[in-house]
């Protein structure tokens, strides 16, 4: 993890960065455990619980939560805050379907002031957008993640 505040221009230059991309198939066991964590019964017809739209796009794009922390030069795991998650589901997701996943950074900027319910200070706001397509190429879903990376004083 970074121990000094990165230059603001390095953060802004992240806009347009693309993750390698790849494929992701949700197995029954993964969907079962994931759904159980939500407190729900399994969904019918091999439907994948939509909460999968957090981690599936990240892993399918061949990155990771830790990788996204590192890309934004997070000072520590504790320095990350969630601004928002925005999930669109055009076509319901199913188990054992191989989805094609792409992901990129869509916004990145240095901010100053209080994050929501946080101490005032300097932070970087980075937005990632991931898209899932079915094997035939139809758009299925998207996930837009906006995180804040708190910075210590330079």
């Amino acid at each position: 993890m970074a121990d000094i505040q990165p230059p603001a221009e390095e953060i802004r230059a992240l806009v347009g960065y693309e993750f390698p991309g790849g494929k992701y198939t949700v197995a029954h066991w993964e969907n079962f455990l994931l759904t159980e964590c939500t407190g729900s019964e399994p969904l019918p017809d091999a439907l994948v619980h939509p909460v999968v739209l957090f981690h599936m796009p990240i892993l399918g794009a061949n990155t990771s939560i830790g990788g996204m922390f590192a890309l934004g030069q997070a000072e520590s795991d504790f320095s990350i805050g969630i601004e928002s998650y925005d999930w669109e589901i055009e076509r319901p997701l199913h188990e054992d379907v191989e989805y094609t996943v792409t992901g990129r950074v869509t916004e990145a900027d240095r901010m100053e002031g209080p994050r929501r319910h946080d101490r005032p200070g300097v932070y970087d706001r980075i937005q990632f957008r991931f898209e899932l397509h079915e094997p035939e190429g139809e758009f299925a879903a998207s996930s837009t993640i906006t995180w804040t990376y708190r910075r210590s004083a330079a």
Partner: protein, 138 residues
Amino acid sequence: MNVQVGDSIPEWVMESVRPERMRTMAAILRDPNPVHWDRKAVAALPFGLGERTINQGPLGLSYILNMLMDWAGPTSVRRITMRFPKVVLDDDYITARGTVTAIREENGERLADCDVWLAREGETPSLEGTAIVVLPES
């Protein structure tokens, strides 16, 4: 499905947010952040949260998804946008709630725009946002 603007969505309750579910979730997500599985790491933070692990944001969001799917069906959610003003902690009793703010037709479907939130009793929301839900015909 007879739905009117101003209707409340039947609430969905998580009676106790369980730390073992956070640990399973952390493994599935490959989430390295110890705030989800190490109570002492949370207690060491300068936020006064005590020795209670912090629920993953997507898990809190999933309670709202469960409310919407129980109400309108398992393929009904078209979009959900959430902000996270406060954390949810292990052992919290927390309730998902929502109201219908608009009903409209789009591409032959009847859509409900909803305000949705997740909150401990008597407190301001831990999660708040909006959702678009396809309403079933019958």
